[in-house]
């Protein structure tokens, strides 16, 4: 385990040196998502996914992309769209 610990410290220190380069790429290309999967657009860019794309086949359609079970949709609660009702 000591060997692995030393290995982890070495890798982390190397990562720090490439961190600057990654930072530049993320910043200059304005990237917002990790490449975790490339099968559905709402799992490729989960943070940008809209309400529509997961149900694009028909309303309430069943998930058919395998990664959709693993990568959840973003939290839409911040949209704060309200419904007002008038009760007579």
């Amino acid at each position: 385990m000591t060997v692995l610990y030393i290995h982890s410290l070495i890798v982390i220190s190397e990562h720090h040196t490439s961190r600057k380069e990654i930072k530049e790429i993320a910043e200059k290309l304005q990237l917002t998502d990790l490449v975790l999967s490339t099968d559905a657009r709402y799992t490729r860019h989960p943070s940008q996914a809209d309400l529509f794309s997961a149900f694009q086949d028909f309303p309430g359609s069943i998930e058919h992309f395998p990664t959709g079970s693993i990568i959840p949709p973003p939290d839409f609660s911040y949209l704060r769209t309200k419904i007002k009702t008038d009760v007579n």
Binding site: L29, T32, D33, V35, D50, F52, F65, P74
Partner: protein, 389 residues
């Protein structure tokens, strides 16, 4: 408290474990497997979460999308001026990006159209990035390069009119950046608009930069007020999305963890439900020849500790090798789904020792308890009764 006594008892315990080689090897294998799965999940999810947090903190502070009936629509660039007038906003830039399906290899690419990227001499790019006014050149992610081509080759994409556009590859993102760039095709803004026939004065979405972090929510609220059909996405929300992917409530983690936990509970339950006749008799003999209850329980403690700690260390070491040296290859099919382009996870071994400690607490400690407790009754009973059976 003498060291010799404990050494002798530990010595006996080790001999005892070796006497039941097959049974104990079986237990260690199952236990190690369970720990391996759970630690792999812990290491993978924490490392990815940390990576996401570290990389995505360089994203724009706010992304503004336009919504139509819940669907993401192109945004008009004329609203940029209005947004720029909001106090706190330092810069607004249009983003041009989308997806391209390559039916040849059944892969999805993410295409980005850029202005002057300002990226030069970046060690993670073999070659260079396209410049703003260049036509028909592209930089691609390693996933695409592996699947298709190299620098100097040409990548042909079909535009929305059905015409083929050729792009000479001038740059390839290196594998260390794969987690961000594996499926990217970066071309100039002009080329992008021509490829997708993007209408004038529109963009995919807008990147809004706010100098003061504390003002971000206020700026987002004002954007929403002025443009009710817009959807501002804050950088914090982006990072939180990934917290959810790798958090304990995510599908992947819950499924794997639940399975592993069930296996562990079965193992511990089997131990806890009682001693075999042979084990009971052995305890009786030890009591008869002069071992105290505390000596027997100490022996059982060592037995539990040796097995659980050995399994734990093997499991964690294997998990470390699996995640950080083999790129989580066992979990890859689950994470990959139908993806053709898929990054090689070269994860950084950022380890959450707190979670590892919790794992010890919920596996090693209960296992030791499940070894000691069934022996308790036998060890406090008169040896004569225990040996008679």
């Amino acid at each position: 408290m003498s060291i010799n006594k404990h050494r002798n008892i530990l010595d006996y315990t080790l001999q005892s474990l070796l006497r039941r080689k097959f049974k104990n090897t079986g237990i260690i294998l199952v236990f190690t497997f369970v720990i391996f799965i759970v630690s792999s999940i812990i290491l993978l999810s924490y490392s990815l979460k940390k990576e996401a947090g570290l990389m995505l903190k360089y994203s724009p502070e706010i992304i503004v999308q336009r919504m139509l009936a819940g669907r993401h629509e192109l945004v008009s660039t004329w609203i940029m001026t209005t947004i720029l007038e909001i106090p706190g906003v330092s810069k607004v830039e249009p983003r041009y990006w989308g997806y391209y399906y390559d039916s040849g290899i059944k892969a999805n690419y993410t295409i980005i159209g850029i202005g002057d990227s300002g990226i030069e001499n970046n060690r993670l790019i073999k070659g260079r990035m396209p410049s703003a006014r260049e036509k028909n050149v592209a930089a691609i992610g390693k996933g695409i390069a592996d699947a298709r081509i190299d620098i100097g080759d040409s990548l042909n994409l079909q535009n929305s009119e059905g015409k083929w556009m050729g792009f000479k590859i001038v740059g390839i993102f290196e594998s260390d950046s794969e987690i961000l760039t594996a499926d990217l095709i970066v071309i100039s803004e002009g080329d992008f608009k021509m490829l997708v026939k993007m209408p004038e004065d529109t963009a995919t979405d807008l990147a809004v930069y706010v100098a003061n972090e504390t003002e971000i929510p206020t700026v987002a609220r004002k954007i929403k007020e002025r443009f009710p059909d817009s959807r501002p996405i804050l950088r914090d929300e982006i990072i939180r999305t990934y917290d959810a992917v790798f958090g304990w409530r995510s599908g992947l983690i819950l499924t794997l963890f639940a399975g592993a936990l069930a296996a562990f509970i079965i193992l511990a339950w089997d131990k806890a439900t009682g001693l075999s006749a042979e084990e009971k008799q052995e305890i009786g003999i030890l009591k008869a020849i002069g071992w105290e209850t505390s000596d027997i329980l100490e022996m059982k403690f060592w037995e539990g500790l040796v097995i659980s700690l050995t399994s734990f260390m093997c499991g964690v070491i294997l998990a470390y090798l699996h995640i950080f040296l083999l790129g989580a290859s066992l979990f890859a099919p689950a994470l990959k789904g139908w993806s053709v382009i898929y990054p090689d996870f070269k994860l950084v071994p950022l380890i959450d020792f707190y979670q590892i400690a919790i794992l010890i607490a919920i596996t090693v400690l209960p296992y030791i308890a499940s070894t000691i407790i069934p022996s308790w009754k036998a060890s406090i009973t008169d040896p004569d009764t225990v040996m008679r059976g």
